[in-house]
């Protein structure tokens, strides 16, 4: 098993190195390296998954890494059922998105660089998932952040892309600062960073300490998974190429926070308070982002806010202790959200770069495969019964209700309604309403090549079938929950009965209501393009600007900080410190020029100096 496990990160790493070094020579053939590397990783992940299904686990050490005094840590990995699921998602969805990129990035001057970064990301993400201790997790937590930064700013000649990359990096720094502190505190408290050792000894932690550590770790998760109040970077990250949005900012990297909290659930459970905080931050983010998504007019920004919202659902589930439900939603979300992103990419591709929903419409007859798969994706996001999203979202809602959080539950139900509304709104505006684009653009609309539509079909199939396959409760929990039972113990005696069916029915009603509202608003009558998204009320304006969070941060943090920096730079650094340093430098050079004059070149002077030295030396020694 060990070789197979190491192959999973090794293949993409090799692919990244090859494309970095020989990318120029490979040119248009760079995708062979990138796609094959991820395919190999996917095959290895399958093999690992099969063995984990047989009940095997693996823990291994690559090499002792840092040994400093009592601090010892190794580059170690572990594989259990949670790791196996995450590996499958990362490499599987990653593989499909790599294939899609062959068509989407065709003709881009940075083709090889793109695949190199994408491979590097898959390497980092698989290592993040494989990590056997918090330090390795932290290192690759930062590494995926770096890949995200590189890929958001992939088209670095666009100022908006470069700025978005920086923003993502800086906002994540805030979260990672907390994460780093949490890891350090964990070590001082327990003297170890190994998962198993930490989770076996959480009982030794005082609840207050556990709360502190857990909340600091959650701060990192908030940054990485774009939760309030650190969500601001994700909508801007849409400046990156669409496959990047699908892979990193929908399916995998942004779920790292959910994975981390679920992985450390023993620590969070020790605290209690921390779990409550996680649940409520998740719930508030879910409703906050859903309301914002309702108004957005940029197709990718709708999906971005939707991602933030769905991640909120996952955190809410983790917060109420429904870890398996959270991970299940993570998996199904990876399917339907990357499908939606890739479909949106196909639309953008067809319309020559147009991302504004106001200038779309009527694409369905011209792009049948994209329209069909997008419909499946949107229905999956909305939670239409039968599709994967329905099972996973319903599991979260049921767990929230059963876990005794009625307030949180009602927030999430409202969010589900909004989700259904904006999902269908997007679908109708893009594919089924009257065409609203310019004639010239409309003339050029074309379906994307097969290399792009086949991954769409594969993801649509997964979205349609994943729920039926592993999401139907039977006996003790769903098959998915039973698979993860070694990591997340099954809860006994929940579900079933009248309440469960009532909740199920309510879910269906909520989805139907959202669909109906969208239908009434956008399908029953022709919509004027400028009527969509034009602010009509104060509330509308507020939502369109995403509650002005960016501007509030700008006014409260960025501007004061900038002013302070300018003061430090101009006043303190240039004025005071530089003055002192330059003054010292000038003094040294000046004294050098003066001392130099002592070197007259006359032997008599030299000899006199020596004689003086002799006198001083003898005097000095005799005086003591």
């Amino acid at each position: 098993m060990s070789t197979t496990v190491w192959l999973i990160p090794a293949c993409p790493l090799l692919g990244a190195l090859v494309n970095m070094v020989f990318g120029g020579a490979l040119g248009r053939r760079a995708h062979w390296v990138g796609v094959l590397a991820v395919a190999a990783a996917f095959v290895s992940a399958d093999a690992v998954f099969a063995r984990v299904l047989d009940g095997q686990v693996y823990a291994g050490e690559l090499f002792p890494w840092i040994v400093a005094g009592s601090f010892k840590t190794a580059v170690s990995v572990q594989v259990d059922s949670l790791t196996a699921v995450m590996l499958l998602v990362v490499t599987g969805v990653g593989f499909l998105i790599h294939v899609y990129s062959v068509g989407y990035m065709d003709g881009d001057p940075g083709y090889a660089r793109f695949f190199a970064y994408l491979n590097l990301f898959v390497f980092s993400m698989t290592m993040l998932v494989l990590a056997g201790n918090f330090l390795v997790l932290y290192v690759f937590w930062e590494a995926v952040g770096l890949c995200s930064y590189l890929l958001i700013g992939f088209w670095y000649e666009r100022p908006a892309a470069a700025a978005a990359g920086k923003k993502a990096f800086i906002v994540n720094r805030v979260g990672d600062f907390g994460f780093g502190l949490g890891v350090m505190w964990l070590w001082t408290a327990l003297g170890t960073l190994d998962y198993s050792a930490v989770f076996n000894s959480v009982d030794r932690l005082a609840p207050a300490t556990a709360t502190g550590i857990a909340l600091l770790l959650f701060m990192g998760a908030c940054g990485k998974s774009a939760q309030l109040p650190l969500h601001v970077w994700l909508p801007d990250a849409m400046e990156g190429p669409t496959p990047v949005s699908a892979l990193i900012h929908a399916a995998t990297m942004v779920t790292a926070g959910v994975y981390m909290v679920a992985r450390s659930h023993a620590l969070f459970e020790r605290s209690g308070v921390a779990l409550e905080v996680v649940a409520w931050i998740g719930g508030l983010t879910a409703i906050f982002a859903a309301t914002t998504a309702v108004i957005q007019t940029d197709i990718k920004r709708v999906l971005a806010y939707s991602t933030v919202s769905q991640l909120g659902y996952m955190f809410a589930a983790v917060g109420v202790g429904a870890y398996a439900a959270a991970v299940f939603h993570l998996v199904t979300h990876a399917f339907f959200k990357s499908l939606l992103f890739l479909g949106a990419g196909s639309v953008i591709h067809a319309l020559g770069g147009e991302q504004d929903l106001r200038r779309m419409g009527g694409l369905a007859p011209r792009m049948v495969p994209t329209a069909v798969t997008m419909t499946v994706g949107a229905a999956g996001l909305a939670g239409v019964p039968g599709l994967a999203g329905f099972f996973s979202k319903d599991a979260i809602l049921a767990a929230t209700y059963a876990g005794g959080h009625p307030g949180l539950w009602s927030v999430l139900v409202l969010g589900a309604f909004l989700t259904s509304f904006y999902a269908f709104r997007l679908l109708f505006l893009a594919f089924f309403c009257m065409p609203r684009m310019a004639k010239e653009t409309a003339h050029h609309v074309h379906e994307s090549p097969a290399v792009m539509t086949v991954p769409l079909g594969a993801l649509a199939t997964l979205t349609a079938l994943a729920g039926f396959a592993v999401g139907i409760p039977s006996g003790a929990g769903t098959p998915f929950e039973r698979f993860l039972a070694s990591v997340f113990p099954l809860h006994e005696g929940e579900g079933g009965g009248f309440t469960a069916y009532a909740l199920l029915l309510l879910s269906v009603i909520v989805v139907a209501a959202g669909f109906l509202l969208a239908w009434l608003m956008y399908m029953t009558r022709a919509v004027a393009p400028n009527a969509i998204g034009r602010p009509k009320t104060r509330l509308h304006t507020l939502l369109l600007n995403a509650y002005y969070v960016d501007r509030i941060y700008d006014a409260l943090i960025v501007r004061p900080l900038y002013a302070f920096s300018v003061f430090l730079a101009r006043g303190v650094d240039l004025g005071l410190l530089d003055g002192v340093v330059n003054g010292l430098g000038r003094a040294v050079v000046g004294s050098a020029q003066r001392l130099r004059r002592l070197q007259t070149g006359y032997v008599v002077n030299y000899a006199l100096t020596m004689l003086l030295g002799v006198v001083v030396l003898i005097g000095f020694l005799l005086a003591r």
């Binding site: 430098g585 040294v588 050079v589 004294s591 050098a592 020029q593 001392l595 130099r596 002592l598 070197q599 070149g601 032997v603 002077n605 030299y606 000899a607 100096t609 020596m610 003086l612 030295g613 002799v614 001083v616 030396l617 003898i618 000095f620 020694l621 005799l622 003591r624």
Partner: protein, 478 residues
Amino acid sequence: MQFPAVSVRALLPALIVLGTAGLVLVLDLLPPRARKGHLPVLSLAGIVLALLSTTWLWGEETRAFHGMIVLDGYALFLQLVICYAAGLVVLLSIDYLHERGLESGEYYALVLFATVGMLLMAAAGDLIVVFLSLELMSLSLYVLAGYFRARLASGEAAMKYFLLGAFASAFFLYGIALVYGATGTTNLDRIGASTGRDSLLTIGFALLLVGFGFKISSVPFHMWAPDVYVGAPTSVTVLVATGSKTAAFAALIRVLVSAFRGGQLDSTALLWVLAVATMTVGNVVAIAQSNLKRMLAYSSVAHVGYMLVGLTAGGALGAGAVLFYLLVYTFTTAGAFGVVLLLERAAGEGVSLADYAGLARGHGVLALVLSLFLLSLIGIPPLGGFVGKFYLFGAAVRSGYVGLAVIGVLNSAVASYYYLRLIVYMYMREPEAAPPPSATSFAGGLALAVALAGVIVLGVMPAPFIDLAQAAVTPLLR
């Protein structure tokens, strides 16, 4: 009268070099008179043989000639360093002399005689032997400094070196006399065994320190160094800067540790002052230099200051750090001067800072190699200079001289200014004139390769060499 037993083993490295020198002189007289290519090869072979003999003798502890010669691990370690220095000098000299039409047997013979003096200084167990070997070395170097007879600066350098050197030797000899008067012996161990402190001994010690201070060019006895370094043939400058300094340090440490082990007088305060003065003057004045040989001369003064920090710290750590630093310093300084030598034009021009502007364009490899030597002189990891300084200043901190270590580090920061300035000139300035002619010297390139390998190996895996240096000084301290 009883003759002392002759112990060849104790003198083996020196005897090998001495024999080679004689052979070179004889061969110089035999035909072919016009071609001298075989003489440097023979000299080099002798030095390499001496080098091998030190490794063969490793672990030897011999006292010969009534304690006049002490061949122990300490002597062997330093003899190894000296052999490296001499070998690099011979390699660098071959094409340097050939291009100027000044090849001759006596040049190599003088280099070898000077080397014999240095080797003996490392193994001297008696003040008389120290003095004799010091003179053997010095007289050879005086002649070598004036080897470019047609060049005025060369003659001036030799004259100054000789006059001031004779002055310093007089002090040294007077110091020996006073020490003999105070203790009745010139043997280092017996001086160390003598008890009591009197002012005669103190003055004697001070005068000995003057002699050593001159040879290691410590402030205020350093003033000859810049003039001699610039005027002398560059290959001779390398020998003066590396080999003669190593030999002088070898004798100085042994005298300090064996003969004046704190019982009679406390010299650390004096060494503290000398270290600070030497570092600071060397570095500060180096800033104002525009001639590279002059700049490197002051830089080598500053490095003596760093080594005096290690001597002040004392103990196995401090002395061991000095030994290790001598090894690093020899490779680094020989390498830096070596590049300057290869780029020097016939009449001694092309050694000013302006001549190095844009050097990286024409001589990419030489510029890179010189940059690495300069970075090692600054003390940038992973090069040998960093490790050397780390152990020197570390020893100072261990012994409680935190202030001294701080001054040393500050000095290193000042020094980085003039070293980096040269790198800036080489890489970021436009060439002012046509680049100097491409220097193709196989032997010179070999010398640079050896020196660079030394600097890198000592920086990347210093532990075994540090251990050797520590092991070499530990018996002295018993």
